[in-house]
Amino acid sequence: MRRAHTLIELLIALALGTLLAAAAWSAVRAASQAITVVTRLSIQNRLLRAGAHAALDDLDTWSSYDDPTDAARQPLRAPGEPFQPMALPDGDPRRWDDLDLALDADQSDARCWYRGAGVISNGWSAGSGREYGDYALHGRIDHPDAARRWSARMQRDIVDRLGFYALFELMPANTVFSWFDADGFVPAQFHATDGYTERDRLYQPFVWSEARDEPRELALLSCLSAASVTTAATFRQPGDDPSHRWFSNWATDKWRLDGVRGCVSVITPMPLRPATWPALAIDLNRWAGCGRFWAIANVTVVDPTTAERISLHLRTHTTTLLGARRQRHRDAGWARAGQPTLDDGT
């Protein structure tokens, strides 16, 4: 005959069972919290990675600035903007050369040499000018010798049709940005220093001496200044013309140098996500300034339930504007090898 449990045994068993249940519950709770934390971290990490991939992809393709597959998302193809096609028909007087439209700044080619005076643009005394000689004889926009108008036309047309940033991106490092117009003088845009961030003034007052007007390269032109590519509405108000304007350290309005950080192009992945999901936002920023080129992306993940905000800051080498223009088919879509691009003539 089996003996029944005593009351003490029953109490002990109950106590042990309770303890066991409590421990199990604690473990489950801990596990649950850990799972929550791990899941949250994992989701955030995956979003960060996805955002980084998307940002790097856009930095390579410039799709947020110009979507070659969607004509409605090509705001920078208008005249004067960086993605304007440069296909000009034969005989168009704006072509750099009657026979050749190639964008070529190869310094082994005499067409691309700088032929102006080195120390001064137009002259030190108003009125007469050209005190050291008429260097426009050697090369100018309407020179009868095609090789001697090549560089002038190329610089004029790039800045007119594509803007400041494009000029720096499309011309090689160390380019001297200057050319002579038909009147034999360097045009105001490439010479006059009327004031910081004045529209259509590639030249600005120089940091150390406002009166200096010598021909300059990127380092001096962009001293404490920046030229941006932007689709941001803030800088596209009537009269803004951001592709032909500097941001300057000495400006006091939205064109101040740090304003360039607002020139963002925004990508919003997962537009249909539920409101409770973490939000992923990407903004991209490109400019030439302070002596170099900048391509920056910020990837931000915001958790709507905790308001936690995580950002990833990316700055890297990317496809140049020149490369981006040549990724795009002249007519529509992406260009395959051998197909005409935004830089090819008709």
Partner: protein, 572 residues
């Protein structure tokens, strides 16, 4: 049994989930580290390469601070703005790591770096950080939306970086006694250093061959030089004399053809019409410097005849205009040919018109003894005790001039230093910059660890990491050698001004001659004696961890990168 099963399950769970959390945290760190390394290499490949405010040349070997100009990544991080700051060595020494990698790195003279609390985004020179104080950095990383700091900052703040693996010997940015290549515009008048060089090389026994036309060159320089050119432009007789003198110089040094405007230098032959190999003695292929200088001066003189001042009273004739155009073309042709063909011909300045930056001669220090120099150490005869290695080049340069720069902030010319340059050459066979190499020789690693070093009580009071004295703009004679700050520590914008640690020093003033640089107060201020605001919040912080405690760093990621030997910039 059930108890045992349950215990195992609970223990397993308790152990597994922290591991999972750590794995996700590590993954987060790896994402952040990858982003920082992309940023690092972007700066590395596109670093500022302006030489304003640099001492590019000096009288003797061992006197030019520019030889310490960074080529290696970790030195670039110390010298320039890379958004990475050296961790105080006092703190770095308390951090343990797998295989004692950090300790060995520090023992070898390496350094740990932490990410700047305010990533620098608007320039590649140190001066911008001060001038643009209001807008130079992101305190929030929101792309300008101004929504404030976020969690990323704390994740990045826990990362420290180092460069491991042996750096290779780098190329010199310039010869320490001569910042070649010199550049000038074509056309341009003869510079003082050029006529001096002409005199030096005119002797029949010049080892590289004598320069012809000294008498004519002297005449040209006496008529027009950079100091007198402005006074000449409106004087027709003077300009005409300048043209005649330049024509005489060209006739004495170049093959010319007679034209109605005067003797005109023949342009260089098209290389495509010449069958290689091209003989080194062929002046059409390898033009001598006197030809480049003479044609440059003639183009300057002939173009000056067309100037706007004379145009009002005595405009140039069609013949003079045509002559100016033809001589200008010939001068550019010879100057660009000269610059393209031989980086070791140092006789004439490179034309600024030729808009490339890649004709630098390859130079390196010769670190080893040779029969010619049993002692590889060159002892600088200036009484300072400075020493240097000698220099070797891809080929011994010919027709080099003397330094034309100024010494120190008093702007005194560098004394004639031909003897110093002559004595500077080491054993040519030791040159190896152009040698074949295996890929692994150029591979180094950026290593990233995670460690909460800001938990230390002295995280913001520990003195800054020591700065290599060679990166300071002061020489052994005690002179400030540039107009850049004598000491520009990478943490300087975060330094506390004094022991109260409530304020910051005044920003540097670029272009100023600094005083009191040998005082204790100056050194305390500029070398970070009082520590720094290392989280960038403008308030003094102390962590809970005593300085006697040690922390263990977890390895986050390793990145292999190419260890360059030659200074370069990719796009700017």
């Amino acid at each position: 049994m059930s108890l045992l099963i349950l215990a195992v399950a609970i223990t397993g769970t308790a152990l597994a989930y922290p591991v999972a959390i750590r794995t996700q945290q590590l993954s987060r760190y790896q994402i952040m580290a990858g982003a920082k390394v992309l940023e690092l290499l972007d700066s590395f490949a596109q670093a500022g390469h302006g030489v304003a405010s640099q001492q590019t040349e000096a009288e003797w070997l061992g006197q030019s601070t520019f030889t310490a100009s960074p080529v290696d990544l970790e030195r670039s991080m110390v010298k320039s703005l890379f958004d990475m700051l050296p961790l105080p060595s006092g703190i770095a020494r308390r951090i343990d790591s797998d295989g004692d990698e950090i300790a060995r790195l520090l023992d070898d003279g390496g350094c740990l770096f932490y990410p700047s609390p305010n990533p620098h985004q608007l320039g590649s020179e140190a001066r911008y950080a001060n001038i643009t104080e209001r807008g130079d950095s992101f305190t929030d990383w929101s792309g300008g939306t101004g929504e404030g700091a976020d969690e990323a900052a704390s994740h990045v703040a826990n990362l420290v970086f180092a460069v491991v693996g042996c750096a290779q010997q780098n190329a010199l940015p310039y010869h320490p006694c001569l910042a070649w290549p010199y550049y000038d515009w074509t056309p341009a008048p003869l510079q003082a250093w050029e006529i001096a060089s002409w005199r030096a090389h005119a002797a029949a026994n010049d080892p590289d061959g004598p320069w012809p036309g000294l008498v004519e060159a002297e005449a040209v320089h006496a008529l027009v030089n950079p100091d007198t050119v402005q006074a000449v432009v409106g004087d027709l007789a003077q300009v005409a004399a300048y043209v005649r003198a330049a024509q005489a110089l060209v006739a004495a040094t170049c093959a010319t053809v007679a034209t109605p405007g005067g003797p005109q230098p023949l342009p260089p032959a098209d290389l495509r019409t010449l069958t290689p190999p091209w003989p080194a003695a062929d002046p059409d292929v390898y033009p001598p410097p006197w030809r480049v200088l003479a044609t440059r001066v003639l183009a300057h003189a002939a173009t000056m005849r067309t100037n706007g001042v004379l145009a009002a009273s005595a405009p140039a004739s069609a013949q003079e205009i045509a002559y100016a155009a033809a001589t200008h073309d010939a001068a550019l042709g010879w100057a660009t040919r000269y610059a393209a063909m031989d980086p070791y011909d140092w006789g004439a300045a490179r034309p600024l018109n030729r808009q490339i930056g890649w004709d630098f001669p390859l130079l390196q220090f010769d670190c080893f003894a040779s029969p010619g120099h049993p002692d590889p150490i060159y002892r600088v005869p200036d009484g300072t005790g400075d020493v240097s290695w000698r220099v070797v080049a891809g080929r011994r340069p010919r027709w080099y001039p003397e330094a034309r720069g100024v010494y120190a902030t008093g702007a005194a010319p560098i004394p004639p230093n031909r003897r110093a340059i002559d004595e500077s050459w080491g054993e040519a066979s030791h040159f190896n910059l152009a040698s074949r190499f295996a890929a692994e020789e150029r591979a180094r690693q950026i290593v990233c660890w995670a460690v909460d070093w800001r938990a230390y009580e002295d995280c913001e009071s520990a003195p800054a990491a020591p700065l290599d004295a060679r990166l300071c703009h002061i020489d052994s004679r005690g002179n400030q050698v540039t107009l850049a700050p004598v000491v520009a520590h990478p943490e300087h914008h975060l330094f506390w001004a004094d022991a109260a640690r409530a304020s910051f020093p005044a920003p540097y003033v670029f272009g100023a001659v600094e005083s009191g640089i040998e005082t204790v107060a100056y050194k305390q201020l500029r070398l970070g004696w009082w520590g720094a605001d290392r989280d960038g919040d403008k308030s003094f912080d102390q962590g809970p961890l005593p300085a006697t405690a040690r922390l263990r760093a977890a390895t986050v990621a390793r990145f292999v990168f190419y260890d360059r030997r030659v200074p370069h910039a990719l796009r700017n």
